[in-house]
């Protein structure tokens, strides 16, 4: 009960940040939220189920371009276009996921990577629909969420929705099945779990969350560009989940904060900042293999004792 209260307090604090904060900080916080949403989806796949997808952000691209097409070319309203785009990402995730999931470990990673690159190539080259490499301009923000302060609240809302979905899944019996599949797939199957179906379902769910993040991202930037959904971004999503702590509820959120925030803090070092950042990443895999969330949890426990 006390934890719920603390969480409410935190959300209220986050909601009222625009009252006190500079636009620069707010901009960064919006990006944190928008990076966190697909990362939450990936955390369900990678952290809980053990599926390392290297093409995750391509599904954000499917959502983003579907929304862009529906809003700009078909003049559909914002919220219905958003819902349809999220559904499209989920369906694409189910279909492509079903193919990828026929492979295991390294093979799975490489096939997801290949699909990510193929989807990127479609976004980059299908000029009639996606406007090609120049990007798809003129994507609206929903009515009432135009200025930065109110868009921040939309992004925060999106991140909260993603977090809530993750929380509901993890504490459900479906969530426990996912963890069982990660730990020992054969044993889980022997207990009557339909492994292929459950893994496809979590792939679809993760992709739908990625789609939500993609739509909000392009409506924040007001343009959908293929470069927002390339291989590097998919790799970034994996890094966010891992730094934060794969398989922990707060992991992807912490990871996104660190991923977006740390390079900003290191800005003094200009062109060396990504080098330093990458080095920190490697150090985390070497010395804190369970991510920041685990590090904080251990520190907290030690303090409590």
């Amino acid at each position: 009960m006390r934890r719920a209260g603390l969480l409410m307090l935190l959300v209220a604090a986050l909601y009222s940040i625009p009252l006190v904060s500079a636009p620069y900080v707010l901009h960064i916080l919006v990006l944190c939220c928008l990076y966190a949403i697909p990362a939450v989806g990936l955390n369900l796949m990678l952290g809980y189920t053990g599926l390392v997808s290297l093409g995750h952000i391509a599904f954000a691209g499917i959502g983003a371009y579907t929304a862009a097409y529906l809003m700009v070319d078909l003049k559909l309203g914002y919220w219905s276009a958003l819902a349809l785009a999220v559904a499209a990402s989920g369906v694409a995730g189910a279909v492509i996921g079903a193919i990828c999931l026929r492979f295991r470990s390294h093979f799975f990673m490489i096939v997801t990577l290949a699909f990510g690159l193929m989807l990127y190539s479609v976004m980059n080259n299908w000029d009639e629909v996606t406007r090609g490499a120049a990007g798809f301009p003129g994507i609206p923000r929903p009515a009432g969420f135009g200025p930065l302060e109110s868009f921040y609240r939309l992004a925060l809302g999106g991140a909260l929705v993603a977090f809530a979905v993750q929380w509901l899944v993890v504490r459900s019996s479906f969530g426990r099945i996912l963890v069982a599949l990660r730990q020992d797939e054969r044993l889980a199957e022997a207990k009557g779990v339909n492994a292929a179906l459950c893994k496809t379902a979590v792939f679809a769910l993760g992709s739908a969350l990625a789609g939500l993040g993609g739509v909000l991202l392009v409506s924040f930037l007001r343009v959908a560009a293929p470069a927002s959904f390339n291989l590097a971004e998919s790799i970034n999503a994996v890094l966010i989940v891992i730094i934060g702590g794969a398989g922990s509820l707060a992991g992807p959120i912490l990871g996104a904060l660190l991923f977006v925030g740390l390079p900003e803090l290191l800005r003094v070092a200009a062109e060396w900042r990504l080098v330093v950042f990458g080095a920190i990443l490697v150090l985390i895999t070497l010395f804190a293999p369970n991510g920041i969330a685990d590090l904080i949890a251990r520190g907290w426990n030690r303090l409590g004792r």
């Binding site: 295991r104 093979f107 990577l113 190539s121 980059n124 790799i235 062109e271 950042f277 895999t285």
Partner: protein, 291 residues
């Protein structure tokens, strides 16, 4: 049509050779250490830069620059193995993550040192055209194919007959058994990593003069090399050669029928289709840790 087909065949063999060099390095490392090094593409890129440095700044001889670049990258590869991949041995997921982090470090280090713009590296072999029937190719195309064939033959001989090569094969077949018969497996790990990155450096140094030397030049070849490995069968050295060549030729020939924009997708589509039909690839070998 026949001339166009021949032209694309030569182009395909050239790009395929580059994919083979990348794929061989990755397959050696994967076979011995069971590590999938996604940073292999950036090491290929560093090979191009180092070769450019030695060629334009120090020696002025392309061959010397090529060999120096391979030697430098072998040292870098050995260093990476010792400092990053050995401590993470057995943790498959974190090895992959560390290699992704390495991509960030190395790529941005290169940008910080050499700047983000592409560098030119003109060699006599790119200027000199040779004719093949009615077609004309830069000599560099043929040089890439010939050098790769020689290197592949040498690698096979090394693996088959040399003591270290035999130790390498033994370690990749069964690490524990290799240890029991007294093979220093950790030294074999370093050797395979150094050899693999040297092959990547050779690839980067060979394409550098043809296309430009730029920070992302290794991204696509790395993924194509991976596709080649999967196609040939993970862990199979001859498979990596055949797979890399198939990918190179298929994507070049496909440009005759399909828009060139989709060339990259062709390689992946072929890979996924073949894998669905033959999950272990064309020359599939059973790997440790898999049923």
């Amino acid at each position: 049509m026949a001339a166009a087909l021949l032209e694309q065949l030569v182009n395909g063999l050239m790009t395929g050779s580059i994919y083979v060099l990348i794929a061989l390095g990755m397959v050696l490392i994967y076979g011995v250490m069971h590590v999938l090094n996604f940073a292999h593409g950036v090491l290929f890129m560093v090979g191009g830069y180092v070769c450019h440095f030695f060629y334009t700044r120090l020696t002025g001889s392309y061959t010397a620059a090529l060999l120096l670049s391979m030697a430098t990258l072998a040292l870098i590869g050995a260093g990476i193995e010792r400092s990053i991949f050995r401590p993470l041995q057995g943790n498959l997921r974190n090895q992959v993550i560390a290699s992704l982090g390495l991509i960030l470090v190395i790529e941005n280090l290169v940008v910080a040192i050499w700047g983000p713009n592409a560098l030119q590296m003109k060699t006599p072999a790119t200027e000199h055209l040779i004719s093949l029937g009615e077609l004309r190719f830069p000599l560099q195309h043929l040089m890439i194919i010939v050098v790769t064939s020689v290197v592949v033959a040498a690698l096979f001989a090394f693996l088959k007959w040399s003591k270290l090569g035999t130790a390498l094969r033994a370690t990749s077949q069964d690490r524990n058994a290799a240890m029991v018969v007294g093979i220093p497996v950790e030294r074999v790990d370093v050797a395979s990593f150094a050899l693999g990155t040297a092959l990547a450096a050779l690839g980067g140094a060979l394409v550098g003069p043809l296309f430009l030397v730029f920070p992302q030049m290794g991204d696509a070849p790395m993924v194509k090399g991976l596709a080649g490995i999967l196609l040939g069968g993970m862990g199979s050295v001859p498979g990596a050669v055949i797979g890399g060549l198939i990918i190179g030729v298929a994507e070049s020939v496909s440009t005759l029928f399909l828009p060139t924009d989709y060339r990259d997708s062709i390689a992946f589509a072929i890979m996924v289709l073949i894998l669905l039909a033959r999950p272990r690839g064309l020359f599939g070998v059973r790997m440790r840790g898999e049923a």
